[in-house]
């Protein structure tokens, strides 16, 4: 906060008698911070588009970025921060939002859920951010949700997640569980003739909810298919030899894996070392994006299938422009995973919504969101649903040794988001 407010006030201070005090010592600074913020020209434009006191001036609008850049989650959230900054830079280059330049305030959730809630409150109450792009884990989203609802903020949440949630104050730019699971299972059943499934996961809410949906779908909707095993491992588990032996014994048609974090790396390395050949054994995952392959090593996972909505290798003009802009900004070696792309959508969807609503007011944005279309999305056309999730395609890719996915299948139409799927709970 200081970096931002201070620059306004220092500027004012230099022209005012306060200058002396400032020069006399740092002691003046806390006093300055307590003074009311200088009111910027209350032009008609600003008063018309901002009736609730958000940080919007005639030339600028402030948004927040709230991710972990320290702690265990930094590994995953770094990509999201990069994508959001890229989107903001591009929007500014193309004229900003309602003629205003976007300025961002970045806060660090530090992989700690109470910290997320505290920083969210700071962004909404002190900084009056017009929108916040942020959070990654469900735990962090659950921690900030009451804050966003109480202080009426707007959160753009990028991660694919378990569903079972919907809020006026959140736009979910990732897939909810059914969008990521059902089409993939149908595909593997149809093209590979898969009948037996072995479900694996890390032991927390997302893998468990997702596997529950997968099991219901396999047992209820796929002819003659069954689940031959279902297992969970504590987060951070690093020894998978026993379960790999069990898989060898049951010989499932498909290993369905939702393992996350450091466990992911251990699992695929040990699978490969145990002699499981992915060209003969089908493995379908919904938790390994290009980001994770970086740590796993392409040669250890080559041949596995992943069900996502976005792959870096997608062949369309939007995506090519996005990938080259991303690499130009963050380096040739960076990879772009599913969530990174979803994070990139956040600022753009917000811009389009503000322009449709003709206002920065949160209530108007929440009401205007359904039906917003973004034709420039790297994943292709997306649209916001009544339930604040996105209509998007489901895709299956096969991992290659160079760490990229090769697109194998995509749904013909956009898949409807259904965060409270009937018959799957």
């Amino acid at each position: 906060m200081n970096g931002v407010l201070m620059s306004d006030e220092t500027e004012k201070g230099l022209k005012s008698p306060l200058r002396r005090q400032l020069l006399m010592g740092m002691a003046a600074i806390p006093a300055l911070a307590m003074m009311p913020r200088p009111s910027f020209g209350a032009g008609p434009a600003t008063s018309a588009v901002n009736t609730t006191g958000l940080a919007v001036t005639d030339s600028e609008v402030t948004v927040g970025i709230l991710h972990s850049v320290t702690g265990t989650m930094a590994i995953s959230e770094t990509g999201s921060v990069q994508a959001e900054k890229l989107a903001i830079e591009q929007i500014n280059a193309s004229g900003g939002v309602l003629g205003r330049k976007i300025k961002f305030i970045q806060e660090d959730g530090a992989s700690d859920w109470p910290t997320f809630a505290e920083k969210a409150k700071k962004l909404l109450v002190n900084d009056k951010c017009a929108a916040v792009m942020g959070c990654w884990t469900s735990a962090s989203r659950k921690a900030v949700l009451p804050v966003f609802e109480q202080y009426n903020g707007m959160l753009y949440y990028p991660t694919f997640y378990e569903g079972l949630e919907q809020s006026k104050n959140v736009i979910y730019t990732g897939q909810e569980a059914t969008q990521q699971i059902i089409a993939g299972l149908d595909w593997v059943n149809k093209t590979k003739g898969a009948k037996t499934f072995y479900l694996l996961g890390s032991d927390y809410i997302w893998p468990r909810t997702s596997n529950k949906i997968a099991r219901k779908h396999i047992e209820g909707h796929l002819q003659g298919a069954k689940v031959v095993g279902e297992e969970y491992f504590p987060l951070g588990h690093t020894q998978f030899n026993s379960v790999i032996n069990k898989i060898k014994l049951t010989k499932p048609d498909v290993i369905y894996a939702i393992i996350v974090g450091g466990s992911n790396v251990a699992f695929y390395k040990q699978l490969k070392a145990a002699g499981i050949d992915m060209s003969k054994q089908t493995l379908l995952t919904i938790s390994v994006t290009e980001d994770e392959i970086d740590g796993i090593g392409g040669e250890n996972i080559a041949g596995a299938y992943a069900c996502m909505k976005y792959f870096q290798s997608l062949d369309n003009a939007n995506n090519k422009a996005f990938v080259s802009a991303f690499k130009k900004m963050w380096g040739e070696k960076t990879v772009i995973g599913d969530v990174t792309q979803a994070a990139y959508l956040g600022p753009w969807l917000w811009k389009l919504t503000v322009e449709k609503a003709g206002s920065f007011d949160i209530d108007k944005i929440a009401a205007a969101s359904p039906g917003i279309e973004f034709k420039g999305a790297p994943e292709g056309y997306v649209r916001i649903h009544e339930n604040h999730h996105l209509w998007s395609k489901t895709r299956v890719g096969r991992a290659k040794a160079d760490g990229q996915y090769e697109l194998i299948y995509e749904t013909a139409d956009l898949v409807e988001p259904d965060p409270f799927p009937k018959g799957y709970q």
């Binding site: 590994i75 969970y232 588990h237 379960v243 069990k246 450091g262 740590g295």
Partner: protein, 308 residues
């Protein structure tokens, strides 16, 4: 659960499961050896043990990159060089830490817990700043990947066998150094009676520094070996720390034999139960059993009998 399978299938699975248990055993011993030396011989609770391991892993990663760039012909053998570098890097950092921090805390053993925990946070953030927040993938030479086909149905992971051999080698070296060499006698003398050892002319400060360095160096080698089976990231060390302490405490803090016996018990219990039930349940039962046994034998499986 076995009704549908042939005898041959079951035999193969049990053989592979036996190896899985042995591999887990080697991993535990390798993890715990460095900590057992430091905790057992010096009474220092080193919470940064995992970070010393990860330093070894990062050194391995850098060595592999260097070999790919400058000596691609020698790449198949880089792992041995990397392990030596890992030992040197973690060992030197360990000696530096001992000199700067630990030696001031010998009279306050519980404070070492807090100080080394702080150190672990500092190291994690340092790795994040230097190597980036994302995990790095360590590339292995081809001969270390895949599995050895013992029979049609039995496959043994090569990296698992590699870890096993390495563990045996390091355990033998440590046993020799601690129990048969002159330096080992000095270490044990300092452990039993620091003042008296000093009085007979042993440089206790030097012994402390090298002991700490040796423990950290072995952690580095372990970290280097674990790039084959696990992840390399700033916080990956945290994945090992709980299991490591479990093995050392369960075995009896001051006993090397205890560490090995406890690693064997825990790994066999864990891998057998994991086969018959879900991974999470197996972990819960293992932990419960350890708690129960420690309540009956607070000093661990093998306690060194010393006059207090």
């Amino acid at each position: 659960m076995f009704g549908d399978y042939s005898i041959g299938d079951l035999g193969a699975i049990f053989a592979m499961q036996g190896f899985a248990g042995l591999i887990l055993f080697s991993v535990y011993v390798l993890m715990a050896l460095g900590l057992a030396i430091i905790f057992g011989q010096m009474g220092v609770i080193n919470m940064a043990h995992g970070e010393f391991m990860i330093l070894g892993a990062y050194v391995t990663w850098m060595t592999s990159n260097a070999f790919q760039h400058f000596l691609p012909a020698l790449f198949p053998g880089y792992f041995f060089v990397a392990m030596i570098f890992a030992f040197i890097a973690s060992g030197s950092l360990g000696m530096l830490v001992e000199w700067a921090m630990i030696r001031r805390l010998y009279k306050r053993p519980l404070d070492t817990l807090l100080a080394t925990w702080g150190l672990s946070l500092i190291l994690q953030q340092a790795y994040r700043s230097v190597f980036g927040a994302r995990e790095v993938g360590v590339e292995l030479p081809d001969w270390m990947m895949g599995s050895w086909q013992a029979t049609d149905a039995i496959q043994i992971p090569i990296n698992g066998m590699f870890v096993m051999c390495l563990t045996i080698l390091i355990t033998l070296v440590v046993a020799y150094v601690l129990f048969l060499s002159r330096w080992g006698k000095q270490v044990r003398a300092v452990v039993q009676n620091r003042v008296m050892a000093g009085a007979v002319g042993i440089n206790t400060e030097k012994v402390d520094r090298y002991t700490f360095g040796l423990g950290c160096g072995i952690a580095g080698v372990a970290g280097s070996a674990f790039t084959m089976i696990g992840s390399t990231g700033p916080t990956a060390g945290q994945l090992y720390i709980v299991d490591t302490f479990l093995v050392v405490v369960f075995g009896g803090a001051a006993s090397l034999v205890g560490t090995i016996a406890s690693a064997f018990t825990i790994s066999q219990a864990q891998s057998t139960m994991e086969f018959f039930m879900s991974g999470s349940m197996a972990k819960v039962l293992t932990l419960l059993a350890i708690v129960a046994i420690l309540m009956m034998r607070p000093q661990g499986l093998f306690a060194l009998k010393v006059r207090k």
